[in-house]
Amino acid sequence: MADSATETAPEIRPIVPHLKLGETRDQDRLFGSRCSNCNTLYVGPRLFCGKCSGQGPFTEEILSTEGEVWVYSIIHQATPYVKAPYIAAVVDLPEGVSVNTNIVDIEPEPENIKFGMKVRMYTEEVSEDKEGNKYVAYKFCPA
């Protein structure tokens, strides 16, 4: 007989702590934490401030789904779990923070990507662990 006390139903989880899942995938959002002492905005949850050494409190802010490519690289050699080549990029969001991401839906060639290019976030399920939990990741595509 299964030990029902330790059994939990599989969940859908964000793959990174700075992604907040909504009811449906189109409601998923990146979020930040703003230091109440020095006003610095961080991506994701935060307990302490690396700028002012404050201990918060931090207020949560939902981040835009649209941003601009700051820099990118085209990765041809990756771990076995990722299909290469792919575009790794740092995307600047209008709130003044930036995120690491992949740019998808364009051929990974330098001539297809421009610095400052407008991109839009979306999310999808990308993996499942052995307990059946599903993981949702965010990506950016040309806006």
Binding site: V16, W70, S73, H76
Partner: protein, 398 residues
């Protein structure tokens, strides 16, 4: 603080040693450095051991090979700056007067993992899934940032590989001693644009060691003590983007400021530099970070011939370099950069790298660098950076 000198230096040839363990590699470097110093384990009062991949106790295991005299051992880990941080701790131990003679040793056995690998559980970690934090991606993007800001081209970055691979042909201690003309560098497969395979350092096994003592004691051992004129270590200051794109520039600039001020020299006084060219893009960025040229001038600097051995482009590469020569550019520093062949040729066994860079400068300042000797070198700088982030700079003087 009293004056400190290096009296012994060694580096084993970097490469793959599947039949030896890391303590044996390290012990060989340590014993050779002692022999070079004309000293023995009985003279050594402490060991500072840099190693990144081994669990704690790596330095003690090295002493089981070198001689268990019961001296204190300090094990150091500090990303790619592990070896140079061990050196710095050793330097301060002598400078403070706590010890008269110590060994700083760096070692690593990397197998096939290397910088192209990744950490974390592939099912759930962002790294395994997105791959943005892997070293090649970081240094690819750092190059792209320079491209965005200054218009630097992939070809200009690639010239650093042409130079360093050319230098390596005269370094028997380098893992690879193979030249690569520009088209070969550009046509090798892309790893993380703009870096191709020949613009990435190989990884392997290696060890390097230095024997450090007070300037006063140094006279008992050598007529050619090498003075440690500055030791700087920095971490990243806060910046808005450094949590997404590691900033390899600011902390290097901060370390350079400290090192130049402490040593009382400037970039124009340097005869040579061993800098952290883990990727070709990094080499150009560090020309500017170390003040060898102005901001945005790195592409012109590598093409000017200044950082090449002999301060000029070798005849056989003149044609390769010609399209990138800026005739209006005159180099501020004529420091030869990476006469050893750099990490790009020499290899990058993480914990060993920082001590090896220092040993290389010592060889040159003593005039013992063979065919790659930087002529009449009197002042050298060794720079190492590890991500998340630690930067060391040491200035050495004859």
């Amino acid at each position: 603080m009293r004056e400190v000198a290096i009296v012994g230096a060694s580096m084993i040839k970097f490469g793959r040693y599947p039949d030896r363990d890391v303590a044996q590699l390290a012990a060989q470097a340590g014993l050779e450095a002692l022999k070079d110093a004309g000293a023995g384990m009985k003279d050594v009062e402490a060991l500072y051991s840099g190693n990144l991949y081994q669990t704690s106790g790596s330095g003690q295991r090295i002493l089981q090979q070198m001689g268990q005299t019961g001296i204190p051992v300090v094990n150091v880990a500090n990303a790619c700056a592990t070896g140079s941080t061990a050196f710095r701790e050793a330097y301060f131990a002598v400078a403070s007067g706590a010890y008269d003679m110590v060994i700083a040793l760096g070692s690593e056995q990397m197998g096939k993992q290397g910088l192209l690998g990744s950490r974390g559980d592939p099912a759930t970690s962002l790294e395994g899934r997105v791959g943005s934090y892997m070293m090649p991606a970081v240094f690819g993007m750092a190059g792209m940032e320079h491209m965005r800001t200054h218009g630097t081209s992939q070809e200009q970055f690639a010239l650093a590989s042409v130079k360093n691979h050319y230098h390596s042909t005269a370094n028997p201690l380098a893992q690879y001693q193979k030249e690569s003309p520009l088209d070969e560098v550009l046509n090798s497969r892309v790893i993380a644009y703009p870096n191709t395979l020949l613009m990435c350092c190989p990884t392997g096994d290696g060890a390097a060691a230095t024997v450090i003592c007070s300037a006063e004691k140094a006279r008992q051992f050598t007529t050619q003590p090498i003075k440690v004129a500055a030791s700087a270590l920095t971490s990243d200051p806060f910046s808005d983007r450094d949590l997404t794109l590691p900033d390899i520039n600011t902390l290097t600039r901060n370390a350079a400021d400290i090192a130049y001020e402490t040593a009382g020299v400037g970039p124009e006084d340097l005869d040579q530099v061993e800098l952290h060219d883990c990727f070709a893009t990094a080499e150009l960025l560090h020309y500017e970070n170390l003040g060898l040229c102005g901001d945005g001038e790195a592409g012109a600097h590598v093409a000017s011939g200044a950082p090449w051995i002999g301060n000029k482009i070798p005849t056989k590469y003149e044609e390769d370099v010609a399209p990138y020569v800026d005739k209006s550019y005159s180099p501020k520093s004529k420091a030869v950069v990476n006469a050893s062949g750099g990490l790009l040729s020499k290899g990058h066994p993480l914990g060993a790298t920082g001590v090896a860079n220092i040993a290389e400068i010592v060889f040159h300042l003593r005039g013992q660098a063979g065919d790659r000797q930087v002529e009449n070198s009197k002042v050298g700088l060794a720079h190492v950076i590890g991500l998340c982030s630690a930067c060391t700079i040491h200035v050495l003087q004859k």
